[in-house]
């Protein structure tokens, strides 16, 4: 039997099938947990995911499938919840979020094709899950979120732009810079 789409589940829920929401919880708990655990910490991820689902449940009637897919919508809520959580905890300096790496590196990076940003040796190191997770922890949060959404959730740059509320070109350039910083950290 084909799996129901998120939008179909939401229609069922809105038509009074309360249990349908549980399917969404089952479907998105692990992806959201990973997203939030990597942006905040594993200890706080459960609370953030729980808060995210409560926000989703409260605002489900506002979800408009014409504007964006459910996955994009739920990750936007998760990202905002995580940001609020970190802001409350003051564990990140938000001025740092806007800072970029130095201009020489950027102009150099613009000329490298995407495929060559991470050499094979670096990629091989990242295959070790523990190493990848530790490396990601060292990465700037705004770069980390782009990488997680693109490689873990396999979102397109357009979808990431919607989640992060950033223009497509900004997301693309953040992705390149994230790969360069990742390479710098590993090397």
């Amino acid at each position: 039997m084909p799996q129901e789409s998120d939008e179909e589940i939401i229609i069922l829920y809105k038509n009074g099938e309360e249990e349908a929401f549980r399917d969404l919880v089952n479907r998105y708990t692990t992806p959201l947990y990973n997203f939030t655990a990597r942006l905040a910490s594993k200890n706080d991820a459960s609370d953030i995911v729980q808060e995210t689902f409560i926000k989703v449940w409260k605002n489900i009637n506002r979800f408009d499938p014409k504007k964006a897919g459910f996955k994009t919508w739920i990750f936007t809520i998760a990202r905002n919840t995580t940001t609020d959580f970190l802001r409350k905890k003051k564990s990140i300096l938000f001025t740092d979020l806007e800072k970029e790496i130095d201009e020489d590196v950027i102009s150099f990076a613009e000329n490298i094709p995407d495929e060559s940003l991470l050499p094979d040796a670096t990629l091989q190191k990242l295959e070790d899950s523990e190493f990848l997770n530790k490396t990601l922890e060292k990465l700037r949060i705004n770069y980390r979120e782009v990488l997680i959404l693109h490689y873990q959730e396999e979102m397109t740059f357009e979808e990431i732009g919607r989640v992060l509320d950033k223009p497509l070109n900004t997301v693309k350039s953040q992705h390149r810079r994230a790969l360069i910083e990742l390479r710098k950290i590993i090397e």
Partner: protein, 138 residues
């Protein structure tokens, strides 16, 4: 590179606590139940208030109907059929003019609110039962 990175990310997935899904679901059910109970009380209060308001409003309506002479005009319908046929237009206007519009609107509004709250109370009772059955299934 993209495939390799995607594979690396997928292989390093953190597994959440096994209870997390249940915790999320039960906290949603708890909030849902709290909301349903709050609405039940709120609609119940509105229903009782509108029902209580109906008593004086009905009294005012009957007083207004007596004062305006509505009953006199109305009794004419049953007493003098011949005159009614000749002067039906005048009688209709007199009846309409003697209607205490504000009192009638007040009574109808309160009746509407009362029936609406009964409808929502029934809805919330059904919802409460549904949520209780979901709580049992956790």
């Amino acid at each position: 590179m993209k495939d390799k990175l995607t594979k690396a990310f997928k292989n390093s997935v953190y597994e959440p606590n096994q209870d997390l899904e249940g915790l999320i679901w039960s906290s949603i059910i708890k909030r849902d139940k709290r909301n349903a109970q709050f609405k039940l009380w709120a609609f119940g209060l509105v229903g009782v208030a509108s029902l209580a308001g109906l008593v004086p409003t009905f009294k005012i309506l009957f007083t207004d109907l007596t004062r305006s002479g509505f009953y006199e005009y109305f009794s004419l319908i049953f007493s003098d059929t011949g005159s009614i046929i000749s002067y039906w237009k005048e009688l209709a206007f007199s009846l309409a003019e003697s209607l205490p519009i504000i009192s009638i609107i007040s009574v109808l509004s309160l009746l509407f609110v009362c029936f609406l709250s009964i409808k929502y109370i029934m809805k919330q009772i059904n919802r409460d039962q549904l949520i209780s059955s979901l709580t049992l299934s956790i």
